[in-house]
Each structure stands twice: as structure tokens, then as C-alpha cells.
Symmetry: C2
Subunit: 415 residues, 2 copies
């Protein structure tokens, strides 16, 4: 029997009416002849309520108890979804993580999958069940404690089940109807993509397009799970939404597929750092230990002055980590590990990126990008590139303008 | 290490402040040198919310899914209680039913305990944990599905753990401060009992005194678990509340310990039933099948008339089961199984009972009771007796008066 995985997020199961709406989508696939594994999130708001209680009770909480409490939201939805399907005469049952059992590491609140054994669920499909409703976001540790995967883990659960059960496809139902060339709130020219390659989606996910969780895309890429992103709130068919797939499935080869942005970036520059072998490690080691997610790094060429070699080191990180980064650098200077004359912080920047696997074979993408920004008099503060993306930092006030200019320059409104 | 079981009901853990208050009571016992097993209910209102969702989703719900959904309330409280204790530097962890594992029958929503293995929790006590916080009201079936024990099952969970772990005592913290000679709302002379025998508590529990669930008292009696009922909302010490214990522990031997009442009783009389061997079975069989909980039964002596033997058969049942009982009797008449001339229903009655193990050795309790009611001109409609209780049905308008008169007649205000 062909098998589908269907995942419904918190807004898609926010109340009993929406759960019923989601169940109707499951029913349609069952009628088409699929066995279905449904992955559900907690009803929207529930997880926040539970997290709030835990944090109020114990600010430095025991993550094992956090997981035991917070995972209950998904269990409720799973039971209600199974009941809703039963009311539609579809043989269905709910599965909590420990019943599958979804085996994870012991890293509570940030656990990773170890194994998803198929035996228990396969046995129920063999008995005639058509749908297994699995509580997302959770698993069980080797010690028999409940674990969670961290926020957004339900997407990852869905992809992991699709991989484990060899699903034909993994459909992620959410509150948007697909992946767009850029955020439609910034330009009405934004166009929904029919298909996008895993690598592109991965860059877009990590660059701030909040449609899919990065980890779920990584996992899908590794196991070649075809992912479809589509809307819970519209009538959908087999052509709806956006398919995230292997690049071999994509015929068109535009240089750029999308423009992403990230508003909450800060730029920090260590001025006149004494340059020596190992200086980068001396800077970025303490930042990593302080939990700062450094993104872009630029090192200027070294200059000789005052009898030594000096450089400026610039990096970016999320705005809310600036305080931590500053403290880590001041401590490093106090301990003598790093010498610098000044630490310049600019929290008023945004990151703009163009992404596309076609970039590999199309020359001149960077030139087009820089020309388009220059035409709008937007100054570029930092540039980094990877094989399939080019990112720049600009003043935040130019963010929307930059996105629009690049969307036009690469003609993304055209299919 | 001596061990206590402490149980906190829904109102005792209704919010984070009350959970903290409950945790302070646990802390006190730990400081006295006890290992403690804490049994928690769902935060008050939560179970009703979950039940409401299930019933709205599926009026004739799959009880396995009902249990999976509804049990989540206790899991949340267990985690929050463990975190609260940890904040007080008490080594504690939460246990969901399947983690213990609490083994029950497969009778979902009304499961019974099969076994509570000690190994897992004992191992944690041996590691230095002082408190095991167990989610009440739930267990796991032989098929690995979550079960619940039915409403009020947390009391039963507490007693079962006390029996399994040989606890010194099982303290039931609730919103009243003990068991009273009668309902203090009916007479201010009502007196809190220091001790009460299991058998008496059992009669009181099933007669409408809602302090403890009947099943939990039965279980406590069978395993000789000393139960203490006391208030969550007052400062308590080792002498607070009421101890429910074996009658050997009770020195005083008053004839009557308490007066109970039940408002929602109905009296039904089958008039002129054709009397023959097996007629009682022919009546009460169909009533049982229809789910009618028949309480008192009175059969008048048989009379000879119209060439046959006839009798009147009177029984009582909860008011909300009268319709069902009527239909069962009409069906029985239609099928020819039972012949009667009329079915008289009186839904305007109340049941008053006096209970006391001393009754066994004290003569004249019934006479005192009937004299006290006669002195107030209260007509007795039906009488039934057991070894340790006498119950009467009276017009409901006399209910409070009857309770007060009996409380006075047996001088229950005196210790």
C-alpha cells in the first residue's frame, strides 16, 4: 500500500473545527488508496502556555521535566485527531512517542532521532488501520524519559517518519500556501514556486523564510524525502503548494530562485586586532562557548603598524546575542587572549540573500546583484558567498527596497 | 527509610501557587525523614476541558483515545510538581503511568489495577531521590495503551501505591479538613472525627459524603492502608484531619459515627405485581441491564386476590435513572416477563442514613432513630438496614430537618 506522511502545525489544529478540516484532507488521501501517517503539533497557544508554567515554576528548569510537561500538548491533539477520523469511519489510532517508540538521544529539549522502528505501526496497518496519528516533536530517551526535539520539531518528526516508512511524499500543511520567491508582504510581485531544490530550501530556511524548520529540510535532503508545503486553509489537490525535492526533478534552471532577508542581524567589528596565527580561533572559540551564533565573518587584510601586524575582524550575529558577544570579547581581552583597540557594534543592519542552484552554472550573478543595489544607492557593508547564495549586510532602512530591487533584477516574477 | 504517600486533588493543584503550597507540605515530610510518593490530579478544570473536547469530537468516543487525551492533565501537574520540589532543593522526578509502569486491565475509562511493580521507583529512591511524583488516575493496558481509572481515580491510585510500597500512611489532601459527623452546611453542630473505621467510611462514601471515592476506601480496607483526609489550605501537622483506619485502632465505641444523606433519590413502586418464584430476578435483571443502580429494595408481603398471589415491589435509584427504569419496566411488562397494574414514581424523596460500627453491639439504634423522626412528624417511606447502617427514605423537604434531628438524637456533637 503506498504511504503518505501528512503534517499539521499548530494553527492547522488550533480548535476542533480546524482539526476536522485537517481530518477531511487526510480522508481524501485515504480514499485515494494511501495509508497515512499524520503528524500533529499542539493546538496553537498550548505549548506556549505549558512552557510559561514551567518557566514560572523553575527558571533554570530540569529539561527532563520540561519535556514531560510540554509534550502533553501534542498528545491531546493526536487523540482528538484519531477520534475525528474515527467519526469519519476511518480506522485510526493515536501514537505517543513512547508507544512507537520514537527513540531519541538524551539531549532533552533538543533531542535527535536515533531510530524509528516500524514494527508497531506496520502491525496496525496490517490489521486494517488506515491512519496512524503520531504526536510530533517528541520521543523517548534510552533512560525511558520523554524527550522533545525543540521548537518546530514536528516538521522534523514528519520527515523522519517519511524516511523510516519510505513514504511517497511528506506533505507539510501550514498557514501559507507554499514557498515564494520572496516574502509577499514585501513585494506583490512575489511568485509561488512550484518546485524548489533541497539545497535552496535549506538556504532559504536558515536565512529567515520561516516556512520550514532547517533541520527538517536537512533530513529530507539526506534521505531524499520529497516534501510538499501547502495550505491547511485552502482546497488543495496533488498540484498545490510547493514541492521541495532533489534538483534532478527540477527542469528549469534559473540562476536565482529566491530572495531572502533577515531583519534581526547585528554587525560587530573588532578594530585593530593583533594578527597572529590562531587569532580567529581565539576570537570565535569564546563566542561559540557563550552561545553566540556567528553567521558572516569577514577578515580584512593585515596591515603592519606600531611594529606588529593588525587587522579588523567583522562578524554578524542575531541582535539579541550582542550583549553576550560583547561580554565574551571583553573577557577575552581582559585575559590577554585577544588584543583589539575597539569593538564597534552596529545593530541597525539587515541581511539580504539571493539563493539559487543555477548560480553554479550562471556567471555574473554577483555582478547583477551589486549593480541592482548600487542603482538604488544602497551601500553594501559585508559580503559573503557560498556555492548557491550571495549574502550582503545593508542598513536596515534599505531592507525592503533591496529585496524589491533584487526581485526585479533577477526577474523572479516570471516563471 | 519510612515512606509516605501524599495525594493532592484538583483544587489543591489548581494553579502554580497552590502547587507550591502543596510542595511545601511534601517538603515538611521529607525533612522529617520520609521518602514520599506524591500522587497528583489534573489542575482543576483541565480534565473537564479535555473531556469536553473529546465529547464534542465524538459523542460515542473510542475510550482508548479518550484515555490518551484525558490522562494528559495529570502528566502536566506531575511535571510541574517535580520542578517545584526541585526548586526547593528536593531531589524529585515525575512518573507517568507507563513509566512506573502502572499495569491495569484493558477496561478503558474504568480500568482496575493489575500490578504496581516497585523496581523502577525503588531504584530512584536508592539513587538518592526523595520524592516520586506520580500522575494519578492512569495506567497502561497489556496492549500498551494508556488507561484511566474513571473519575476520582487519583484517590485509588494513592491507596494502591501505599499498599504496593508498604507506606506508613496515605494522606489525602483535599478542600475539606476531614470527615465530619454530618455535612456542616446542614448543622453547625457537625463535628470533625479524629478517626473513623474503614467500614464506616465506606458506607459514608457510598451514601453521598463526597470526601473520598468509594473504591479507594475499599482498597484501603483490603490492604489495611491507613488513610488520612486533611486540608490542603490549612497548616497541618501529624494530628490534623481524620484518620480512616482499622476498627481495632478506634477506642471509642459510639453506636453511631455519622449521619449521611443523599438528595438525588427516587422511589418507584410496582403495584400489584403477580408474585411467583423468580419475580425479583425478572424485575431487577432488566433494570441492571438498563444500567439502573438500584439501591434499596422492599417487598411487601404477598396477598391473595383475583385468584392469584400479588405483592407490591418498591425500590430506589438515582433520580436521573428514573426514565431508564420506567422504560425497562414497561418493556418487561410488554414482553410478559413481569405483570403489574401500575408503576408509581416518587422523585421527591431523600435518603437519610445513620452509620456506625458500634451498632453491632449497641441495641436500640433503630428505635432511637425512628423515635427522633417521629418526634418531628417525619414520615418514613422505606427502611433498609445493614450490619452497620440504617437508611430511610423521607420526603425531600424534611431532609435537613431529619439530619439535624438524628445528629441531636445520637449526640454526635460530643466527642
Amino acid at each position: 500500500m503506498p504511504l503518505l506522511v501528512m503534517k499539521f502545525g499548530g494553527t492547522s489544529v488550533a480548535d476542533l473545527g480546524r482539526i476536522k478540516n485537517a481530518a477531511l484532507k487526510v480522508k481524501r488521501e485515504v480514499e485515494r488508496g494511501y495509508d497515512v501517517i499524520v503528524i500533529v503539533s499542539a493546538m496553537s497557544g498550548k505549548t506556549n502556555e505549558l512552557v510559561g508554567w514551567v518557566e514560572q515554576t523553575s527558571p533554570l528548569f530540569d529539561a527532563r521535566e520540561y519535556d514531560a510537561v510540554v509534550s502533553s500538548g501534542e498528545n491531546v491533539t493526536a487523540g482528538l485527531m484519531a477520534l475525528t477520523l474515527q467519526e469519519m469511519d476511518i480506522p485510526a489510532r493515536s501514537w505517543q512517542g513512547w508507544q512507537v517508540p520514537i527513540q531519541t538521544t538524551s539531549a532533552h529539549s533538543a533531542a535527535r532521532f536515533v531510530d524509528i522502528p516500524r514494527e508497531n505501526i506496520d502491525a496496525k496497518f496490517a490489521e486494517g488501520f488506515k491512519v496512524a496519528v503520531v504526536a510530533g516533536f517528541q520521543g523517548v530517551s534510552p533512560e525511558g524519559r520523554i524527550t522533545t526535539l525543540g521548537r518546530g520539531g514536528s516538521d522534523t518528526t514528519a520527515v523522519a517518519f517519511a524516511a523510516a516508512f519510505g513514504a511517497e511524499r511528506c506533505d507539510i500543511y501550514t498557514d501559507v500556501d507554499g514557498v515564494y520567491t520572496t516574502d509577499p508582504r514585501i513585494t506583490s510581485k512575489a511568485r509561488k514556486l512550484e518546485k524548489i531544490a533541497f539545497e535552496e530550501m535549506l538556504e532559504l530556511a536558515s536565512l529567515g523564510a520561516k516556512v520550514l524548520q532547517t533541520r527538517s529540510v536537512e533530513l529530507a535532503m539526506r534521505y531524499k524525502v520529497r516534501l510538499r508545503v501547502l495550505s491547511s486553509f485552502e482546497d488543495t489537490d496533488e498540484n498545490s503548494g510547493t514541492l521541495v525535492c532533489d534538483e534532478d526533478e527540477i527542469m528549469e534552471s534559473k540562476a536565482v530562485s529566491g530572495v531572502a532577508y533577515s531583519r534581526d542581524e547585528a554587525k560587530m567589528t573588532l578594530v585593530k586586532v593583533q594578527d597572529r596565527p590562531g587569532i580567529a580561533a581565539a576570537i570565535f572559540g569564546p563566542l561559540a562557548e557563550a552561545g553566540v551564533n556567528v553567521d558572516m565573518i569577514v577578515q580584512n587584510i593585515s596591515e603592519l603598524a606600531d611594529g606588529g601586524a593588525y587587522t579588523d575582524m567583522t562578524f554578524s550575529c542575531p541582535t539579541n546575542q550582542v550583549m553576550r558577544a560583547q561580554k565574551a570579547m571583553e573577557d577575552a581581552r581582559a585575559s590577554g587572549a585577544v588584543n583589539y583597540s575597539d569593538l564597534v557594534v552596529d545593530t541597525d543592519v539587515a541581511k539580504i540573500s539571493v539563493v539559487g542552484i543555477g548560480m553554479r552554472s550562471h556567471a555574473g550573478v554577483a555582478a547583477t546583484m551589486f549593480k541592482a543595489l548600487a542603482a538604488e544607492n544602497i551601500n553594501i557593508k559585508v559580503i559573503t558567498t557560498s556555492e548557491i547564495k550571495i549574502s550582503v549586510l545593508v542598513d536596515r532602512k534599505y531592507m525592503e527596497l533591496a529585496v524589491q530591487a533584487l526581485h526585479d533584477a533577477f526577474q523572479l516574477e516570471k516563471a
